[in-house]
Symmetry: C2
Subunit: 583 residues, 2 copies
């Protein structure tokens, strides 16, 4: 058992084993991640509708706080695409883009999200992330990727446009097609093409040039920095900003400011639901990245402590001019591949970004926004994966319905409606499926003690004894189904004198199901039929003994179904005049 303090403060654990070798690996990884994060942070801030520095700020203090409280050795925390989009959608509902209120609302959103994550972590309620099923997440990420890429087209075209759903965005773009800025479009298309080529073509080229695969891979990741440098130079030298090319402009030089989120009740209540959705989505994404990387080194992460780490990171973002953050896939993989061994790598990355914020912001004055948009488009298109539709269709229609609904609603109504509908639909479909459990009427396989489905096997049955095998735990959602089914079944079949419920697959009987069993027992009693149970599992039996059900039960509880057959059919044949064995 880990000591309490070390559980809540992981550096006490890994810090004891920190060596100069670990230090060297961590610093190396930090340099590479920093270079990759500078354009990415600027771009995601643009996506969230915030000034570029917000992206840098959101990567400094949050990374350090996650390093102190998180359990993953390689997770890199900061702005990510989907959460940036969700921030834009949430904040856009309460404030005008570009206004003072907009940035303040983003801080409030980070604060609420941080507080929720922290509370869930301290209460050890990480399991609620499980309510997001994999297909819903996959559908949501795919739809978000499309929304994000579409939202960036305005920067590539150099037109003003907005909207939070696919239709709104396309409509706004179409309305401005006559105002396309051609220099911007040229820069945007060139940058997008270059970045795609970097992804697909640069690595093989570098390998053919003699570099080792890992080095080639990491070098290819710096492609966006090259695009940023070249395009900034081009705009500056050619004076393209005079020709209408939107540039990043003046970014304040300095460390992250201390900021105070706006806590007015109206704003807080308007942002509660978005904050909850951002928290859960961010947590699910982050944990799955952290688990994938931890498993590769046989390390473990603690999901509840991860909530605390992400909560602290978001609170940090709220008070230092950032916006909601989470563990990003791309940056964490780069961090891991570059050799990060402890969360200290994150802290060194934060130092790198702080230096950038202090010294490098004048260099990006002439950086065209179209290039940042290109970075985003290229990054998010790798998230778009419609194969989930085909795969889930082949496997389960219910899962397919959940994916399709999530994708369509996310595209059509926006991120919040999409993910909410997906969660509700998953839970609803699960309850629906388990609300109609498989119940088989069974009979004795001649010459054995086994009982099988009468519809699939040639078995012996007895007209006075109805034996039903229930293949599901009994709980409130299916309790009434069982009641209906049994009563319907006996209503149409008069010779029945005994009903046996065979329960080998019943893992639980909740209080609703207990009351249903009592009702079934009572109603069967009123028409002269006895209810029996067989093969009840130990824990279920223990629980039934705590109720009065077994006292009221008109029949018996048989250890095995064959005992029931022997007692009800073979021995008591004379009591039940209609009884006769049939094939």
């Amino acid at each position: 058992m880990m000591p309490l303090l070390a559980r809540y403060f992981p550096p006490l654990d890994w810090g004891r084993r920190y060596t100069t070798v670990t230090l060297t690996s961590d610093v190396m990884a930090a340099v590479i991640v920093t270079i990759m994060l500078i354009p990415q942070s600027l771009a995601y801030a643009l996506l969230a509708g915030l000034p570029p520095e917000a992206g840098i700020y959101a990567s400094i203090v949050p990374i350090i706080l996650y390093a102190l409280f998180g359990t993953s050795r390689a997770l890199a925390v900061g702005p990510v695409a989907v959460v940036s989009l969700m921030t834009a959608a949430a904040v856009g509902q309460v404030a005008e883009a570009g206004s003072m209120g907009y940035a303040a609302a983003a801080l409030t959103l980070a604060l609420l999200s941080g507080a929720m994550l922290l509370a869930l972590g301290l209460l050890r309620l990480g399991f609620i992330a499980n309510f997001l099923s994999h297909p819903v997440i996959a559908g949501f990420i795919t739809a978000s990727g499309i929304l994000i890429a579409t939202s960036q087209l305005k920067h590539i075209l150099g037109v003003p446009a907005g909207g939070h759903t696919l239709i709104e965005m396309l409509g706004a773009l179409a309305a401005h097609l006559d105002a396309v800025n051609w220099p911007t479009l040229v820069i945007g298309v060139l940058a997008t093409g270059f970045l795609f080529w970097v992804r697909k073509g640069l690595k093989p080229l570098l390998q053919r040039a003699g570099l080792r695969p890992r080095t080639a891979d990491l070098l290819a990741k710096t492609g966006p920095v090259a695009a940023v440098a070249v395009s900034t130079l081009a705009v500056w030298l050619l004076g393209l900003d005079g020709g209408g090319v939107a540039i990043v402009g003046a970014v304040p030089q300095g460390l992250p400011p201390l900021t105070m989120p706006d806590l007015s009740p109206d704003l807080v209540s308007a942002l509660l639901l978005p904050a909850a959705l951002i928290s859960v989505i961010g947590f699910v994404e982050s944990v799955s990245v952290a688990q994938t990387l931890a498993a590769k080194r046989r390390q473990r992460i603690d999901p509840d402590q991860e909530l605390i780490g992400l909560g602290a990171a978001n609170l940090g973002a709220a008070f230092t001019g950032g916006y909601p953050v989470t563990g990003g896939f791309a940056r964490s993989v780069v961090n891991f591949d570059a050799g990060a061994e402890t969360p200290a790598a994150g802290a060194f990355t934060a130092v790198g970004l702080a230096i950038a914020a202090l010294a490098l912001t004048p260099l990006i004055f002439f950086l065209p926004k179209a290039v940042l948009a290109a970075t985003i488009i290229v990054a998010v298109l790798s998230l778009v994966d419609f194969s989930i539709l085909r795969k889930s269709w082949g496997y389960s229609k219910a899962d397919f319905a959940a994916v399709l609904a999530t994708i369509l609603l996310t595209l059509g109504l926006g991120v919040e409606a999409g993910v909410s509908a997906g969660v509700l639909l998953s839970i609803g479909l699960h309850l629906y499926k388990t609300s109609r459990p498989h119940v088989a009427e069974v009979g004795l396989v001649p010459g054995t003690h086994h009982f099988r489905n009468v519809l699939r096997h040639r078995v012996r049955t007895n007209p006075a004894v109805l034996t039903l095998r229930v293949d599901e735990s009994l709980y409130f959602a299916n309790a009434r189904f069982l009641e209906d089914m049994i009563l319907d079944r006996v209503a149409e079949d008069c010779p029945i004198k005994h009903v046996v419920l065979m329960c080998p697959a019943v893992n639980e009987i909740d209080f609703s199901a207990l009351e249903s069993l009592e009702a079934i027992n009572e109603r069967l009693r009123s028409i002269g039929i006895k209810l029996h149970l067989s093969e009840v599992k130990g824990p279920v039996m223990d629980r039934l003994k705590r109720s009065h059900f077994l006292d009221q039960l008109t029949g018996e509880v048989f250890l095995s179904q064959y005992d029931a057959w022997e007692t009800l059919v073979l021995q008591k044949k004379d009591d039940t005049p209609h009884a006769r064995a049939t094939a």
Copy 2:
């Protein structure tokens, strides 16, 4: 298979077998139910905050429509206590009690509720009522009984007071205690005492006087009519209304009017959620009464057709001056005991009530409201049953939590918050329970082919082979739990080379769980461990075959766990240098 038209229009079924004997039984039952319903309908209208005639109107056309479309032979549809309380809570939020808008909003509520019930019935979605667990319903009914009884105290005390939660009501009563009307209080207390005595003492007395138990029982049910008659006469003769005793006053004479519900968008959107809750609560109550009575005669009801019947009844109420209705327990039992054989008994009851509405309303001019309140109090206190708390505590803490939360929130925040919280909590607790399935590490019982929990039995295991038996279906809520558990388990135990998942109790693997299995397989592969499955059920195996999982699986699928043991431990002992059998 029943013909389609007969399914949706049940009189085609029972009407063919209608005889004069059935007619006599039905008319007899109708007379008794009519006498019982007159004071009850007036009282429930008072509870709903509506004029008394609304209660009568709500019992006429709805009964006839239910008789045409419902499937229960004995269910009596009309105003009931809990739905009347919910109506008061819902309509009170959008209109002033006693105003024109109030009665109009009640019509809208009936229309929405009717439309929802009808839609659910036509879409055959009756299963959604299952989401209300028995403990939640029991807690809700008990808390509602207390709220209803408390709400009537103002009529007994003769003071003006309001409120929709227990605290509001008690506060309002306390504020008016100095204004108690003493004649009203005397009438109210006498009537309440008399009605309690009628319930408990009159039936034995009548039996001792030589009446048969059933006749005595039915006669005792007419006690409220006696209270109404005597108190009305007393007020009239003594001129008590001049002394401040609130009376029913002028009730319009005539058949139910044709009314048009208000469909303004604001009103409709404000009443949507209340209408949904009223529909579900009403449906659940009604179906459970109908099932209890149908089972006694080995008849069956069709829950989806019941939705259509109740939907039609509520639409009828909306267009004829009523308010939301459902099948009532007390009236249905009386109807059944009085010998009703077909829904035609309901139609005859409607005729009786129509005659009352046409001719008898002047007779109740002097009826004191305190007597109606006494009828309600005596009726609803039989609903209050705190034993559900004790019973659920003994059986399951999760169910207890759901009951307690429902009771406290219903009393403290009102009916809508109470029932919503109960439903959400039930679903949440169920998902929580199944999100942490029981997983046992198993080993071979020496000398057998059986595998048992290593913690409970002396079994043989092998350090290179980890065998886990999963006692739950695998779906999104527990998929990640399994992932975490297995990866944690192997992270701390290095000699493991094979993980076997034993699946005899896995009834389903959904797409999320499939992806988790793929992730587990992939992560185990990356650290050199093979994943195997054993004892997979047929339908689960069929589904797995439709995915690529089995192609990617690093290990094998064994028919029995003993096969897995033979292959991995007995035959391959040489491949795994660390392998040794341990006790």
